[in-house]
């Protein structure tokens, strides 16, 4: 489960596969930091990784400390501190930066709006009936 989860999250963050070392570190970090993995949203995200961007963005607004977000955060930290992925995190000047920045901002905002709707819907569906 851990390797599958690590690959899904790394592909979401960087569109790249993690190496065996990063996967191992991910498993160790989850155990050490005692991040739970039995929530419904996390299960859904792993069965349907295409939902990860929206769940992450939606939870960033609605529940920033959700365990799924913690696991993505851990993977982000591991990828950033691996020389194989340094280029994704270190700034490289680009003459198209205004367009890239505008697109990044627009895309992030749109994903966030969709994510809030999806997370809200899922939460309502799974809320205890009164």
């Amino acid at each position: 489960m851990i390797p599958q989860e690590a690959r899904a999250i790394a592909r979401y963050i960087l569109h790249a596969d993690p190496g065996e070392k990063e996967i191992a570190l991910y498993g160790q970090a989850l155990a050490r930091l005692r991040i739970p993995s039995d929530d419904k949203l996390s299960g859904l995200a792993l069965r349907h990784p295409v939902l990860l961007p929206y769940l992450d963005s939606g939870l960033a607004v609605l529940e920033p400390e959700h365990p799924l977000r913690h696991r993505i955060y851990v993977m982000l930290a591991i990828l950033e501190t691996s020389p194989s992925y340094a280029r994704y995190f270190l700034h490289a000047p680009n003459r198209w930066w205004p367009l890239k920045l505008m697109w990044s901002g627009f895309s992030a905002s749109l994903t966030s709006v969709i994510g809030v709707c999806i997370v809200g819907l899922i939460s309502r569906r799974h809320a205890p009936r009164t």
Partner: protein
Amino acid sequence: MPQEHDFIVVGSGPSGAMAAQTLVEAGADTAMLDVGFQDLSYQDNIPDRDFISLRKEDSEQHEYFLGKQFEGISLGKIKTGPQLTPPRRFVVEGVEKWTPTVSSSFEPLQSLAYGGLGGAWGLACFTFSSIELKEAGLDETEMRAAYQTVTDRIGISGARDDGTPYCMRELNNIQPPTRLENSMELICSRYSKHAGSLHRKGFFVGRTALALLTEDLGARKATQYYDMDFWTNAGKSAYRPDVTIDVLKQNPYFIYYDKCLVIRFSETTNGIRVVVRRVDTDQEEIYVCKKLILAAGTLGTARVVIRSFDYTVDKLPILCNNYCYFPCLQPGMLGKKADDRKVSYGQLALFYDKNGSGIDVATVMLYTYRSLLSFRLAKELPFGFADNARLLSQIYPSLVIAGLHHPERSSQNKYIQLIRDDSSPTGDKLLAEYEQSVGEMSDDHARERQIKKALRKLGCFPLKRVHPGYGASIHYGGTMPFSTSNDPMTVSPSGRLGGTNNVFVADGSGFRYLPAKGPTLTLMANAHLVAVHALNGISL
């Protein structure tokens, strides 16, 4: 048999180190009692290279950047001490067990480390102005000389500019300033353009004086601009108190006892008896001296003194500068590359001297952000982590962190109490409460509004306000205010603890006022003076 010495200094932080050095240089038999936790895991494992090349090449960088136990990945909200990277975690080791503190409103940072909180000091050096010294209860003439003594000992680099009246004043023997990175140069250029209007509103920008060498000093080397200052201290270019203690250990007049948590003292006609609990064996030991200098930090010293007076004290006032920071966007740096080689410390400071009086001046330290890694900042942006990381990789050279301290005076809703607790290894715990008055909060907010305007004029646009909680400034004082009354729980102008003959306090406990600037240089200068006063009347 108890160990006997002429002087005992408690604590190895900035105050303890300076006091001990003064005593030893005078030829006094000096012992230092200290818990002294050290970093045994990281210091030898971080390569002596710059941040960018390590990021691109070191396959084991996760060990120190994230921690061997992933202790560098902090889940949850921002707390006090984000600059406590894994190699610096030793600064707070053992604190929860040996110095338990309970509070719903105040989260102080305490240390039992070798070098104390000095191990995580941001190196910014500020002298107090004449009026600030007076408000704090310090003698100006003595302090001016003491500041110079400390400057000569530790090595300070800086420049003479509009900020000089607020940080360096008459200090001599200053090394050249650090090389200014490009984003800070841009701020300086904006400042030059708007200097007139900023000055009229009370704003001044200057290069921060830093306890960082730009020229070699003895065995210590000049900084190499590796931007690894939050992780290592290559060449000991940054002054940390352990630099002083390491040298003192070579001196026959000095002996360092570690693993010693000082619990209490008692003064008799035969000397001062100091009771210690060893943190390794939990055994009690006794040390005896003619004169005792307490430099365990404001909170540490308060614990020792309250116990020594048999808990007859109720509440003690506490001073702590209120602190917040503003992550800012600097549009002038968008699309530009940050300098690869730089220092991690704040290189510029913005001073807000509203009335031009030199009192209640707010200080804003300006930092760029890179070497603490962007994943930590990705938590603070409002989008998903992938989007946050992508945005940060594009904009982080244009991020400036503006860290703001407010001045602090005593008030009745800010206090500490030491209450008995049998579950604690020391038999007690510290209760702390901190509540600002409506007037104080209003003043702080008004100040922040003006400062944000000034930041915008300097080309830095605040994105949000982050308040890490009271206690986060890590500037503490005022528990035993300076007084000539000789009452218990006061400190005389010479540093002598009220109600005693030969017990001195060399940390910030006596300060009646905390200006909105780092107090470390002033603490060290005061500690030197206290040691000088303590030397009076003792034959060596």
